[in-house]
Amino acid sequence: MLRDFLRAALTIAGKDLRAELRSRELLGLMALFALLAILVFSVALELDRPGRQDAVSGVLWVTLLFASILGHNRSVALEREHGGFDALLLAPVARGAIFLGKLLANALFTLIIALLLLPLLTILYNLPDFPPALLLIVPPGCLGLAAIGTLLAAMTMQTRARDSLLPVLLLPVALPLLFAVLRASNAALGNLPQAELQTWISLLLLIDAIYLAAGFLLFEYVLES
């Protein structure tokens, strides 16, 4: 049973990755947006050197949040094309497996963008050196964004105003996650006491667990309604 569930989820994630490798539509769009966003932040905030180091965590996560919204919207558009999502719904696979498959692909796409941004931010925002502790925060942060984004994208998929509705729904729901990743990243960057790092990472993992549980529980209801 669990094996079938995981097999179906990996099949769906693999399909999304293969399609993206071929088209590069989603990653290209997200990467371009993220690059432009950090450049705009860099110019608009007019920060001095210490100010830049203080702002880097906020710039990273706000950029990733908006890039992930863009990615989810595009992912939904691609899946709606030719009724591809109906094909998933017709298949004899658990709805939770569809959620997990889409989530894994979305999380990986967001993580790739985050890993592209980190060295750029290190240079543009004058970080003395790259803090390795950020690598403990970025994967669960991307997972949380993908979990809530995947659920809400499925919810808004059938609505006419889906492109604008997704950010309106996602931003308030993502606030607890944003708060935890910002505090954890600031601790990793030395803007908060190092002792707080573990606390914020623990909270981040707890929020991830809540989002994932909500996704698994609600995904079928969202699809059926």
Partner: protein, 238 residues
């Protein structure tokens, strides 16, 4: 599926609303195992809505649907592996090749050793030489051919087809007719506006009007070439 059930699809009092407007208004339908039934009727008579309900892609507002003895939507999980569906959209993934689309479908349905069947179907729909090309490079007709192969890949006991001949050239139409006639043990419900094809393939025709079955015809009793006129007499010009 439950082998004892002679009636494969049993629908009673089916109601479906679009907003506040009823699309189906208490529709009754029985489909025998192995029967080929054409669904006819003007636009908006409820053909596509009925097929989506039977495929489990939509929920009824009232009435009951039983397929192979299983109640929908409560027992949809049990029914899904037994239904092949082709709707207005092709259900294909544009960035995958024809071969990858069918392999993806085979994995989702956990088909055992699907490769020979995949290659056989690609050959029968005339896409064996284009199997490696992404679907987005295909014409509408080629996509429709692949969509037909996709619906048939799982060899379903119940096949639901919504205008399957749309976009097909004469070769494509011949291929599809051949494929549908070669699986006569399968039950087929096919919505179409092509009366001549319906007469050639189906045993029965149901004419829908305003969300109910207005006439249930055995095609053995209908003189060839008169089906369109029978529909026109009930629903207006076709």
């Amino acid at each position: 599926m439950h082998e004892h059930a002679e009636v494969l699809v049993d629908v009673k009092g089916l109601v479906k609303l679009q907003g506040r407007l009823p699309v189906l208004r208490g529709l009754d339908l029985q489909l025998q195992r192995g029967a080929f039934v054409a669904l006819l009727g003007p636009n908006g008579s409820g053909k596509s809505t009925l097929l989506r309900l039977l495929a489990g892609l939509s929920r009824p507002d009232a009435g009951s649907i039983y397929i192979g003895g299983w109640k929908l939507p409560d027992e949809l999980v049990a029914v899904r592996p037994h239904i092949g569906y082709l709707g207005h959209e092709t259900l294909l993934h544009a960035h995958l090749s024809a071969l990858e689309n069918l392999r993806f479908c085979a994995r989702l349905y956990s088909l055992h050793e699907p490769e020979p069947r995949i290659h056989n179907l690609l050959q029968r729909v005339g896409l064996d030489r284009r199997a490696q090309e992404p679907v987005r490079h295909f014409s509408r007709g080629m996509q429709q051919r692949l969509a037909i192969a996709r619906a048939l890949l799982i060899d379903p006991p119940l096949l639901l087809l919504d205008e399957p001949f749309d976009g097909l050239d004469s070769d494509g139409r011949d291929s599809l007719q051949g494929l549908l006639q070669s699986g006569r043990e399968r039950s087929v419900l096919m919505a179409t506006h092509r009366h001549a094809l319906a007469e050639g393939l189906a045993d029965r025709a149901l004419i829908l009007r305003q969300g109910v079955v207005a006439e249930d015809l055995s095609l053995a009793d209908v003189p060839p070439g008169t089906l369109a006129a029978r529909q026109a007499a009930l629903t207006g010009p076709v």
